[in-house]
């Protein structure tokens, strides 16, 4: 059985790895956004963007960046709704702006 200190130590290592990986994860979001922007009617592009935001929302809060995770969660919720009702150009631009604001929340 592990002690809380063991787990805290492991968590600290994962937090450091997450911080290291964050630029690459943000780059992946930008790529997915560009793909969706180029064809907003493509449901698979929208789902792919939703999945990367979902992944980041869950892990950011877990690995010590709760505000950033909450911002990702907000975009994720917006994207989930768009999957059911379809996206107009204005929706795509709103999402793009929210994603560009993620950089500010991060810093």
């Amino acid at each position: 059985m592990s002690s809380p200190a063991d787990i805290d130590q492991a968590l600290a290592l994962f937090r450091a790895q997450f911080a290291e990986q964050l630029p690459a994860r943000l780059a992946e979001i930008s790529e997915r956004l560009q793909a969706w922007r180029s064809d907003p009617s493509d449901g698979e592009n929208l789902r792919a963007l939703y999945r990367v935001l979902h992944r980041l929302a869950g892990s950011a809060g877990t690995f010590g960046m709760p505000e950033f995770g909450a911002a990702c969660r907000g975009i994720e919720a917006d994207l989930e709704e768009l999957q059911s009702r379809g996206a107009a150009l204005a929706d795509v631009e709103r999402i793009a702006q929210a994603i560009s604001r993620l950089q500010e929340v991060r810093s």
């Binding site: 059985m1 592990s2 809380p4 063991d6 787990i7 492991a10 968590l11 994962f14 790895q17 997450f18 990986q21 939703y50 999945r51 979902h54 992944r55 929302a57 869950g58 892990s59 950011a60 809060g61 877990t62 690995f63 709760p66 995770g69 969660r73 994720e76």
Partner: protein, 133 residues
């Protein structure tokens, strides 16, 4: 006195390798035998091959998602014995009827609180013990 019970055999399913790594570490340090995979279809294949007491799965994954995975596990022969935990966003209301109907035993919220996770695993172990009797 040594514990006569065999270790819990657990499968972690999450397409975020860091999250899967953290869960694997926490479960491993509890003495579980843990495997991890990144998608639902592979998870189902591994469960079909047998031997897992507990499956902890993310909800949103490419291909077979967490709910579909739980439903598929329940449909396997003996699949009712596997304890299924769904990882969800903390404000998600998908908990409740749809998930329970799919065969989910418990929910763990992301962001993950490792202290709360320990309490949920205590509950899982009690349920597994009861199911083994």
């Amino acid at each position: 006195v040594s514990d006569p019970r065999p270790p819990v055999r657990a499968l972690v399913v999450d397409d975020d390798p860091l999250m899967a790594g953290l869960l694997t570490t926490v479960l491993g340090r509890r003495g579980y035998e843990v495997q991890a995979c990144e998608d639902g279809a592979e998870a189902l294949e591994r469960v079909r091959e047998g031997g897992f007491d507990l499956v902890m799965t993310d909800r949103v994954m490419p291909g077979l998602d967490g709910l579909a995975l739980c439903r598929a596990i329940r449909a396997l022969p003996g699949g009712g014995r596997t304890y299924c935990i769904l990882l969800t966003a903390s404000d998600e209301r998908i908990a409740s009827a749809a998930a329970i109907d799919a065969g989910v035993d418990d929910f763990i919220a992301k962001p993950l609180d490792v202290r709360a996770l320990a309490a949920r695993l205590d509950a899982a172990e009690r349920a597994l013990l009861a199911r083994s009797r």
